[in-house]
Each structure stands twice: as C-alpha cells, then as structure tokens.
C-alpha cells in the first residue's frame, strides 16, 4: 500500500499521492474496526443466547477472536506493509512457542 520511493520529483504530487494513500488506508482501517465490532457482537451474542452447545460455541468464538486479531495486526499495526518481514517472523515464532505451551498445559498437566 504505502510506498517508500517517492521520486516523482514534484513535492506537490508526492503529497497528494500520499494523502490519497493515507485516506485509502484509513478507509480500510475503519472497515476493519466495523468488522471487529461486528465480530465482538456475534461472540457476545452467542454466549448470551445460551442456546448453543458448548462444542459449537467455543470453536466459533475462538475463530472470531483470531479473525479480530488478524485485523488488528495487519491493518492497525500495519503488518500488511513492506518492511515487516522480521516483525512477522518473530511474532509468529513467538506465537508458535506460546501455543505449544498452551497445548501442553491443557493436555498433560492434569491427569
């Protein structure tokens, strides 16, 4: 989306280009925010409704959480932009390590 190389030579053009880009980005961010609100409503609604079975609700709300977090990471924290190779490598490695720990604690800590 955003661009490192602004070499049109004409500052006015660059500025306008950048403004347009920022606006565009902002639009994406507002859409993500709306989506996140929507997903939160669904999650809370499912639990509040109490009508669904445990095995149905839990995976769905976990999935909704993951989708929300992807919105946060990629749109709010700009991981969709260039120059985020090292950040994503380390963030996802950390996530992997963390998930292994969680998996262990849920399976072999209690008997």
């Amino acid at each position: 989306m955003a661009n490192h190389e602004l070499n049109s030579g004409n500052p006015r053009v660059d500025i306008e280009y950048r403004r347009k880009k920022s606006k565009e980005e902002m639009r994406y961010q507002i859409v993500s925010f709306t989506m996140m609100l929507f997903l939160t409503f669904i999650a809370f609604g499912m639990v509040a409704a109490k009508g669904f079975s445990h095995w149905f609700t839990v995976p769905i709300i976990l999935l909704l959480a993951v989708v929300q977090v992807i919105f946060q990471l990629y749109y709010f924290m700009h991981m969709n932009q260039k120059g985020h190779e090292a950040p994503s490598l380390f963030l996802f490695t950390g996530l992997g390590v963390g998930l292994t720990a969680i998996l262990t604690f849920m399976t072999i800590v209690w008997w």
Binding site: A2, N3, H4, L6, P11, I15, R18, R19, S22, E25, M26, Q29, I30, F33, M36, L37, T40, A43, F44, V47, A48, H54, T57, V58, I61, L62, L64, A65, Q68, V69, Q72, L73, F76, M77, G83, H84, A86, P87, F90, L91, T93, G94, L95, V97, G98, L99, A101, I102, T104, F105, M106, V109, W110
Partner: protein, 208 residues
C-alpha cells in the same frame, strides 16, 4: 537526516517512524519485544487454563458463577474504540497534524482510563463474592492473567501521558515520531491480548 530538523507539512517524510537508523532500530526492537510478550502472555494463558475452576472446596465460585457479560462487553468496547482512536492519532502523525494527533492520543488515554476503572470495579465485585487472589489457585491465576493485562494498560497510560506532556510544546520531529508510533503499536498489542482474554477467560468461562 538530522533528528532535530524542523519539518513542514511538505517536507515531512512518508515513513517518519522509520526515517533514521535509531528509529529503524526502535521499530524492529519493539516488534521483537512484542514477540517476547506473546510468549509471556501465552504462558499466563496456559497457567490460567490449567488452573481454571481449581478451587479447594465446592462452595467457592467458579468462572460460570462470577463473570457478567455486560461489564465485560462495556470494557471490550472501550478498549476496541481506543484502538481506533490511536489509529487516528497515527493517521494525523503521517499528515504532520500535531494538534489533531494529540487530541486523538488524549482520547485514547481517556478510553484506556475508563477501561481500567471498569476493571477495578469488576475486581472489587469479585472480592466481595469471595473470589480473591489468595482464596484459590483459580483466583491466583485469574488475577495474575487479567491483572498483568491491566498492568500493561496502566503502564501504557503513563507512557502515553509522558509522551504527550514531554512533546506538547515541541511538535513533531524525527526524534519523537518513532516514539509515538511505537506507543501505538504497544496499545494495539494490548488490545490483541484483550481480545483473547475476553474470549478465553470470559466468554469461554461463561460457556463452561
């Protein structure tokens, strides 16, 4: 590029948060720190999940009996919205609109403070119901996980206010732009953690 150089709307670089070597270092370094924080919170989540509802006697409240959806929902809305306001702040930083950025940052801090207030109110409620830090392993794990997050919010507030206070007269330059940016990353990360807390602790706690 000199860090103290004065900029105008026209000369302000596209990626002010990564314009100098120091800024680049800060940017990568903070992301790595967030990678470590991921493991930290994962360990706390793991502990919580292992100790959920482990109480010494049956008369003590379980997750199901404690949590209230409306309160959690309100807290979630506050924090989610504060995420959006800090996005706005960064938008204005990009456009070199210092006053607007400060305004949105102030709003972010206000929402964060509201969230903290709700959390404290919630905790006092639980304590009245006999669910305390020392009453059971469940209690210890719950307060540690949620409290760690709350502590992060509180630290974020202090950070935000310090930044605003220090730079209120100075305006934007390449020295403080990365600082604002890194703060916004931190704030979003707190929100990411909260998404999992409300899902895993509260919603899954209510479901059983």
């Amino acid at each position: 590029m000199q860090v103290e150089e004065k900029f105008t709307y026209e000369t302000w670089p596209a990626h002010s948060e990564k314009a100098t070597l120091e800024a680049k270092n800060k940017f990568i370094g903070f992301w790595l720190f967030l990678g470590g924080e991921t493991v930290l919170f994962a360990s706390l989540f793991a502990t919580y999940l292992a100790l959920k509802d482990k109480v010494p006697n049956t008369s003590m409240p379980h997750a199901k009996d404690l949590f209230e959806l409306p309160l959690t929902f309100a807290a979630t809305m506050l924090l989610l919205t504060s995420s959006l306001t800090s996005v706005y702040a960064m938008y204005h930083m990009k456009n070199f609109a210092f006053r607007k950025m400060m305004l949105w940052l102030g709003l972010t801090a206000l929402l964060g403070a509201g969230f903290l207030g709700l959390e404290i109110y919630e905790f006092t409620n639980y304590v009245h119901e006999g669910h305390t830090f020392t009453s059971s392993a469940f209690g210890s794990a719950f307060y540690t996980l949620v409290g760690f997050h709350g502590g992060h919010v509180a630290f974020g507030l202090l950070w935000c206010l310090t930044l605003m206070f220090r730079n209120s007269k100075r305006g934007l330059d390449l020295y403080n732009a990365p600082k604002f940016y890194v703060f916004s990353l931190y704030w979003h990360f707190i929100d990411v953690v909260w998404v999992f807390i409300f899902t895993v602790v509260y919603l899954m706690g209510m479901v059983g």
